[in-house]
């Protein structure tokens, strides 16, 4: 594989990360050495969904063998302040229970001891007296409750209730031929990375400063939140990430309350404290995607064109509003019309508190919930109007040629040709053949169905979208929030070799490899000439609040920043080269490890030699062309703050997805078999095809899990029923088929490399695509996830005779 004049981008080169990971030399948080004397934490957690804490007796635990300190709500409230809450409501959010527990698994006490075994021994010595309270588990009950409130400051369980109006939805509904509705309950689930949370914290009493290593993935908006809670300025809260992380998918955002908790534990213990979450803790109490109740009405013409939508969304964020919630509810604000040209939209968004684990980032983040409603609705439109579902999708798509397209709710769809993507998928994915297969299966009496989905996949979140939860006046008062600063630093060392640093906090997505490809292309080097460092240290590295690994922002935003930083270094080197080689700057080219005059291979100088010049002989480098270290901060201008009419461009880039699948339901067991799954992606320019395929198959597997196997289930009394990996079922090799992946590339005009995000799309499109197929197979009007055999068998089993 050679690429002389660049051309590394677009190739599936081997990942630089892999050799270490394959030989057991990864450096995940639990692999790293800690300071001598570091203590290990274990957490006592609530067995109740809702109870007042009458008393906690930690005396015996404090004196147990090896114990260094015990921490309860009392110490935490004395030493810190509540974590910031993202809505205007008189509620607090602590990383540990204070007076009251509100979900099973909520931390009650932290014990730190010389090892984890002893810490767990001491947990058993803590006596807690509870006064159980009724639990509010179902969001409907929480909404209806007039006496029982999760947070006393609120005189209800509704933390936010906002309505929005875009266009003229009332008139559109009044005029339309039909109103068609769906009502859904989207369940709770989580992407459960195989590596759990880990934190190593230390407190320096002399400088009143915290130093924390955690497998946190961003967004670094949480940094000021944590620093404020710890009552120190940001420069006294140093947060570092390990070189490797065992997956996140959003979930490792949720480690942040534990960072605060362990920082405080280290302060109380006077020693560094390490905590590695175990799987039971993770399932019960790390973080969950939101469950959501949605009623979605459509005003529909008789030809299937949807002219208006009315959304009523009730978002269940669990027991506390953890930052950045209620972001899950607002992430899709600019995309509530999906891939369709629908000009009138009414929205009511409520955020409700229940006795369940607090929610947070999870792959898809708001997309699965929105598309489940929207794409179930599109299927209902087809069924009720007796139209072909494909035709209904086609009639509503945003026209080709209309890009950049401003959606009714304020999103700016950057590029695409949805019609072409659909046509290609139908053709190359073999929809006709699948339909023939369905006909034949049905002729044989089998339960076979086909589902379709079209979706827009947003990426690179606007840091200001969540302020749509505030009224325009509240926003004016608070000051505008917007943008999405991406950063990259490129340094040339005295030997003339290049090192890149990015604050993208990778969780296994190969950022080091792709960043090296980008720089290699820009500077005429090989990727192996470029080293990339991705562990992050907020005290040393360039970062901003948007840093981190979420909203599929790497390729589009961080990759773009790397490119810009490389071009900046290149520009300076070119000026230096021009002086040395005696040619105009615009005739300098970078290729094959050399910097030379275009068309004159003899007049060239080795890259390393020229690049080192700023170190060894700055005097000969022209003014302003010192090429030592360049840091670029890049924030796209399109990401404006929500406007006075609440129009919200929630994301910078918008990929397009068109999926269809054929499924069969077993009459006897109710088991679902995916016969074929086709997924078409337009994610703009593809930087590394192998990694894009990996994102698609990985996202597909997550989505299949959410659709069929996984649910964080609670009993009516709030008991948590999915506490182990034998209860919370992840799909295995036997359950995940290989999807057929198709591509189209419509470069984004808004990103430096034309790339868009691709990592979350199938989590948005696949659950509803499978559900549509099941609804088709069984002739159902309504069906909620997960599509378990027990649930589906209700429709296939004969009615049982009482015997």
């Amino acid at each position: 594989m050679t690429a002389s004049g660049g051309g590394w981008l677009g190739q599936s080169i081997e990942r630089v990360e892999d050799a270490n990971l394959l030989t057991g030399r990864g450096r995940y948080i639990d692999d790293l050495a800690v300071r001598t004397g570091t203590l290990h934490a274990a957490i006592l957690r609530s067995p109740h969904a809702h109870a007042r804490i009458r008393s906690i007796d930690v005396a015996a635990a404090r004196t147990a063998p090896g114990v260094g300190a015990v921490l309860t709500g009392a110490e935490v409230t004395a030493l810190s302040s509540s974590l910031a809450v993202g809505v205007r409501a008189p509620i607090q959010s602590w990383p540990i229970a204070v007076d009251r527990v509100r979900y099973v698994g909520e931390p009650i006490a932290v014990v730190v001891a010389t090892d984890r075994y002893l810490a767990e021994d001491a947990l058993e010595l803590i006596e807690v007296e509870y006064e159980p309270l009724p639990a509010l588990v179902d969001p409907r009950d929480a909404l209806a409750s007039t006496e029982l409130f999760l947070h006393d400051g609120l005189k209800s369980n509704v933390a936010s209730d906002r309505s929005f109006r875009y266009g003229d939805p009332e008139a559109a509904f009044a005029k339309a031929a039909r109103k068609i509705s769906v009502s859904i309950h989207y369940p709770r689930n989580s992407c459960t990375p195989i590596e759990t949370y880990g934190v190593v914290a230390e407190y320096d009493a002399n400088e009143d400063a915290y130093d924390v290593l955690a497998n946190f993935m961003g967004p670094f908006t949480m940094h000021p939140v944590m620093a404020r809670s710890l009552k120190v300025p940001g420069n006294r809260f140093r947060l570092r990430t390990p070189p490797d992380s065992g997956g996140s998918f959003g979930v490792k955002q949720g480690v942040f309350p534990y960072i605060v908790l362990m920082a405080l534990a280290a302060r109380v213990a006077g020693k560094p404290v390490k905590w590695v979450e175990d799987r039971l803790e993770h399932l019960a109490a790390s973080v969950s995607a939101t469950n959501r109740m949605t009623t979605l009405d459509a005003a529909v013409e008789s030809d299937g064109r949807v002219v208006a939508l009315a959304w009523d969304q009730v978002e269940d964020v669990g027991a506390h509003i953890r930052a950045p919630e209620p972001a899950t509810l607002y992430r899709m604000q600019g995309n509530l019309t999906g891939a369709y040209a629908i000009r009138h939209v009414a929205v009511r968004n409520r955020v409700v508190l229940t006795n369940k684990t607090p929610t947070g980032l999870n792959r898809g983040f708001g997309g699965p919930q929105v598309y489940y409603a929207l794409e179930r609705l599109m299927q209902r439109v087809a069924v009720e109007l007796n139209l072909d579902p494909l035709e209904v999708i086609r009639r509503n798509l945003v026209p080709a040629g209309a890009f950049p397209y401003r959606t009714a709710t304020g999103g700016l769809l950057d590029s695409g040709n949805y019609q072409q993507a659909v046509d290609t998928a139908v053709q190359d994915g073999g929809l006709a053949e699948l339909q023939a297969r369905r006909d034949q299966a049905r002729a044989e009496g089998r339960l076979y169905g086909i589902g379709l989905t079209a979706a827009v996949e947003p990426s690179v979140s606007n840091m200001g979208y969540v302020t749509a939860v505030l009224t325009p006046e509240e926003r004016r008062k608070a000051g505008p929030k917007n943008g999405a600063q991406a950063t990259a630093t490129i340094a040339v060392d005295p030997s003339g070799s290049v090192t890149v640093h990015i604050a993208s906090a990778p969780q296994g997505q190969g950022h080091r490899t792709v960043a090296a490809q980008i720089v290699a292309d820009a500077l005429g080097l090989k990727p192996s000439d470029v080293r990339v460092v991705t562990d992050l240290d907020t005290a040393r590295d360039a970062w901003s609040i948007a840093s981190g690994n979420y909203s599929s922002r790497f390729a589009a935003a961080v990759g773009g920043a790397v490119h810009l930083a490389a071009m900046q270094i290149k520009g300076k080197l070119a000026r230096g080269a021009a002086a040395q080689l005696n040619v105009p700057t615009d005739e300098i080219e970078f290729a094959n490890g050399k910097i030379g005059a275009k068309g004159n291979p003899d007049n060239a100088i080795a890259f390393g030699r020229l690049a080192a010049a700023s170190h060894w002989s700055p005097g000969v480098v022209p003014d302003g062309a010192q090429a030592l270290r360049e840091t670029v901060f890049w924030s796209p201008p399109q990401l404006e703050a929500p406007g006075d009419l609440d129009e919200t461009n929630s994301s910078l880039c918008h990929g397009f997805i068109f999926d269809f699948c054929g499924v069969e339901v077993d009459r006897v067991t109710g088991a679902l078999r995916i016969d074929k799954y086709v997924t078409m992606h337009d994610c703009g320019t593809i930087l590394h095809p192998g990694m894009v395929a990996g994102q698609v198959t990985g996202g597909f597997a997550h989505a299949l899990g959410a659709a069929v196997y996984e649910e964080f289930a609670y009993a009516p009394d709030g008991a948590f029923l999915s506490g182990t990996f034998a209860d919370y079922l992840l799909p295995t090799t036997m359950e995940v088929p290989a999807p057929v992946i198709l591509h189209m590339e419509s470069p984004s005009p808004f990103t430096p490399l034309g790339a868009k995000g691709v990592g979350e799309g199938n989590c948005m499109s696949t659950p509803v695509c499978i559900a549509n197929a099941v609804a088709d197979a069984l002739g159902l009007d309504a069906i909620d996830l997960p599509l378990t055999p027990g649930k589906l068998a209700q429709f296939t089993h004969p009615k049982e005779q009482e015997s």
Partner: protein
């Protein structure tokens, strides 16, 4: 998730294992393959004073063909029995059922007798023992006894083994010419404990169906030569008699319907295999 403290004895002889069990009674727990016990230890749901590791007791090993049964010793791993070249010839039902126990990685350590001792209502080995009319060989310092499977399994994760006893071996009756067997299992995912598992055995006299995953322990019923609608009716009674429960993965009515449909299918298949 770390175990509480316990002593550990690696028994080298049967007498040594018996002695610890006799002196510590319920405070001593046998560890065999550890595939079920170690998670219970780590979750602190099992809290023994002493663990007795029996896997180094030479006398407890071996797969032995007896006149009418296969004797599987306490240290025989599930993978070892499954890989035994003569398995299908001597007892086809085991060859059909064993691949459904967990995964290759858990079968490589989990023992056949350990599964019987655990007595999970959904487990395949207890089901096979009940279906075939197998026996459990128990021994203690005080002596030995042998129990029929249907007497051994007596409740949810409960057996008639006394605290000072260990399972020395289990006996699976060997197949006889003209016997037919079938096994059908449905689980949420491949390798999970069964929601419903059916094992059937047919011979000249008639057919027997055993069901796991539904009642508190695997349960068998003989249906003689019944067939057609009469057989369906008899299975219907059986399905209700099992007193299925609701759980996270399936409700009672669902399990009953699986007993009806999969049970019938298993019986038909076992009969087909006879000829």
């Amino acid at each position: 998730m770390k175990p509480a403290r316990f002593d550990y004895v690696r028994a080298e002889t049967l007498a040594e294992a018996h002695a610890v069990l006799a002196s510590e009674g319920g405070d001593a727990i046998v560890i065999a393959g550890g595939q079920s016990l170690v998670p219970l230890l780590s979750m602190r749901m099992a809290r023994p004073g002493v663990l007795v590791d029996i896997m180094h007791v030479a006398d407890l090993g071996g797969i032995v063909i007896k006149d009418d049964a296969i004797r599987v010793g306490a240290t025989v791993r599930q993978a070892q029995l499954l890989a035994w070249p003569e398995l299908a010839a001597h007892q086809p039902l085991l060859a059909l059922a064993l691949p459904f126990i967990g995964h290759a990685q858990t079968r490589a350590r989990g023992t056949v007798c350990g599964s019987a001792a655990l007595a999970d209502p959904s487990a395949e080995i207890p089901l096979a023992l009940v279906a075939l009319g197998g026996e459990i060989e128990l021994s203690a310092a005080a002596g030995k006894r042998q129990l029929a499977a249907k007497e051994f399994f007596n409740g949810l994760m409960s057996t008639s083994r006394n605290d000072d006893e260990l399972i020395e071996a289990v006996h699976f009756p060997r197949t006889r010419p003209g016997d037919g067997y079938a096994f059908i299992e449905f689980a949420r995912r491949h390798g999970d404990f069964a929601i419903v598992a059916c094992a059937a055995m047919a011979d000249a006299q008639g057919v027997r169906l055993a069901v796991g995953g539904v009642a508190d322990f695997p349960t068998a019923r003989d249906f003689g030569p019944l067939d057609g609608a009469a057989l369906d009716e008899a299975i219907e009674d059986f399905a209700f008699d099992l007193e299925a429960r609701d759980d996270l993965h399936a409700n009672a009515a669902y399990r009953r319907e699986l007993v009806r449909q999969l049970g019938r299918k298993t019986i038909d298949e076992a009969r087909r295999c006879r000829v």
